[in-house]
């Protein structure tokens, strides 16, 4: 069994199962924070999938895309949390004005 076969038939299925589990939480997650964290986690597992594929197909240029995905994951988490906080503040101010 070569190293490529090991990665292809053992590591990739484990990562696929974990992607499925995270996607379950993404669908059922009760609050919006759970969904944002699940999205972040899906992208982070995507980085590892890209790394494994770059080993299997011997293409080191795939790692550039992994770097960009990491950037996008951080940016999306920050943007989501910023707008969540802003929305809460607006809602609370409106409640206060109504009282």
């Amino acid at each position: 069994m070569t190293i490529e076969e090991y990665l292809y038939y053992v590591i990739l299925p484990i990562l696929a199962i974990s992607v499925l589990l995270v996607f379950c939480r993404f669908v059922i997650g009760p609050s919006i924070a759970d969904r944002v964290v699940a999205l972040d986690l899906l992208i982070t597992i995507g980085i590892t999938l890209i790394a494994i594929y770059s080993i299997v197909y011997d293409q080191s240029t795939f790692l550039d895309i992994a770097m960009i995905l990491g950037l996008i994951a951080f940016l999306s988490t920050v943007a989501f949390s910023y707008y969540l906080e802003k929305r809460n503040r607006k809602k609370r101010e409106k409640q206060r004005r109504d009282d």
Binding site: I11, I32, A33, T48, A66, G70, T77
Partner: protein, 137 residues
């Protein structure tokens, strides 16, 4: 030799990511879920990227991998703190068996500023207190 090292590193990374995913589904509370994902997944991603660096054995790939690992280690705690803060403000309940909530009443509800809880008194009350102290002296 390098093959054995790659197998060990990638298996450990995959196991950590699988455990993080199971914990992400099983944990009872949004804050516990956030804590699971930041630690275990960061370790797993670092291990698998290190195995890629060992496989290619090239300076440009190694520096790229080190840049990705450094970036993830820097950003994942920041992102987790931001999203935890936002979910605390949106009134997300903690697990009913959790013992204590140390932030209870320490965030100013409108400006979202953190403090020890003593400086929220009205300015008038502070002034009255000062006058009283002066009178006592």
């Amino acid at each position: 030799m390098t093959n054995i090292l790659i197998i060990i590193l990638s298996s450990l990374g995959a196991i950590f990511i699988l455990l993080a995913a199971i914990g992400f589904v099983r944990m009872p509370d949004a804050y516990l879920r956030i804590s699971v994902t930041t630690k275990a997944v960061t370790l797993g991603v670092g291990l698998i990227l290190a195995s890629a660096a060992i496989y290619f054995d090239d300076l440009s790939v190694t520096s790229r991998v080190l840049a990705i690992i450094l970036f993830i280690i820097l950003t994942s705690p920041v992102g987790a703190h931001l999203i935890g803060r936002a979910s605390y403000f949106s009134g997300n309940k903690m697990w009913e068996k959790s013992i204590t909530d140390e932030l209870d009443g320490k965030y100013q509800p409108n400006s979202h500023r953190l403090s020890s809880g003593e400086e929220f008194e009205d300015e008038d009350e502070k002034r009255k207190k000062k006058i009283k102290e002066r009178d006592l002296l």
